[in-house]
Amino acid sequence: MENSPLFKCGHTACAGCGQAVAARLVIESAGANTIIANSTGCLEVFTTKYPETAWGVPWIHSLFENSAAVASGIEAALIYLGKKDTINVIAQGGDGSTGDIGLQAISGMLERGHDILYACYDNEAYMNTGVQRSGLTPFDTNTTTSPAGALSSGNLRPKKPVPEICAAHGIPYVATASAGFPQDLIRKVKKAISIKGPKYIQIHVPCPLGWRHESNQMLPVARMAVETGLYPLFEYEFGVLSGRKQIVPKPVEEYLKLQGRFKHLLNNPGEIKKIQEIADNNIKKYGLKLEAQG
């Protein structure tokens, strides 16, 4: 991968933004013959404030909730023009635009069988508007609309399982990835692009601002999410689990303590135990545990 013109310097993401890392890798992996439909959100704002654009490929932003539908229209137009076979279509957005307000448009896109890759940059909250909870915000996270307080220890609900929801549509390919594992991410994007039909990739992208860690902590944070089992990396093909990254599980506290958004939990073993259970369930469900090697 070269310092290529598909995702250019000079955008205005926060320093160390995991989403910027991932978005660059996605378009670099997909290549120049790609058209992108982007939802409203940090990525859109930091890459395309008029009169600047970071995008070297044809790129469109319409609204917060409709990138999957706009992409569907693009794909249809390309078919009509006889160009679909040579051009990839990517729809992309944050976890909020994906799992909350845009879910229906995505579900429609999946159901209709468009040949589109949907990429979700999962920073686990509405960052562009100042760190409000989304459906993909993890349990007990402190955000501005799920504040920890006398009556609450943060976000009340578990993280919405959007990859599973997409897999339940029976589409050819669903994967999770992480900005902390760039090579794995690149492989998955390339694989997705090579498959015809609707694909969904959800990428865990640390957000220094919203997660409250230093800019240079992006990688350790991203990796620890995977290594604790809190962010399992897996692949589904046609609704069936077909791959997973195995780990030697670390205790969730290792992950939580790296971030300000979980600070309120650190003296609360009861809550930490609940979070450990989430990790344990993931480990069991996806078979994440690396068996001791002989």
């Binding site: 991968m1 070269e2 310097c9 955008h11 320093a15 160390g16 890392v21 760039p182 800019s215």
Partner: protein, 91 residues
């Protein structure tokens, strides 16, 4: 008449985000580099370039000094060093 706001990438020079660096900047030691390209891959700005061993470099016009390149380098061949006050950045 002022139509819809469309921009051709070739007409966009980008913001000079190098001016955002306030504390640290990456310094490539060019000693043990194995040209694994991890630094290039991880840079959120896409401002690292290079192909050959010990020949990777950073465009400080854009580098925000996040330190991810230094963090990921398997050979510890990148160091974050103090930003000299009044140094370039807006080059």
């Amino acid at each position: 008449m002022f139509g819809p706001l469309t921009v051709k990438p070739k007409n966009s020079k980008g913001d000079k985000t190098g001016s955002w660096r306030t504390l640290l900047r990456p310094h490539y030691l060019h000693k043990n580099c194995i040209a694994c390209k991890m630094c290039l891959m991880i840079c959120p700005e896409g401002c690292v370039s290079g192909k050959e061993k010990n020949a990777f470099s950073v465009d400080y016009t854009f580098c925000k000094g996040c330190g991810l390149c230094a963090d990921i380098c398997p050979k510890k061949d990148i160091e974050m060093v103090s930003e000299e006050p009044n140094s370039e950045g807006v080059s």
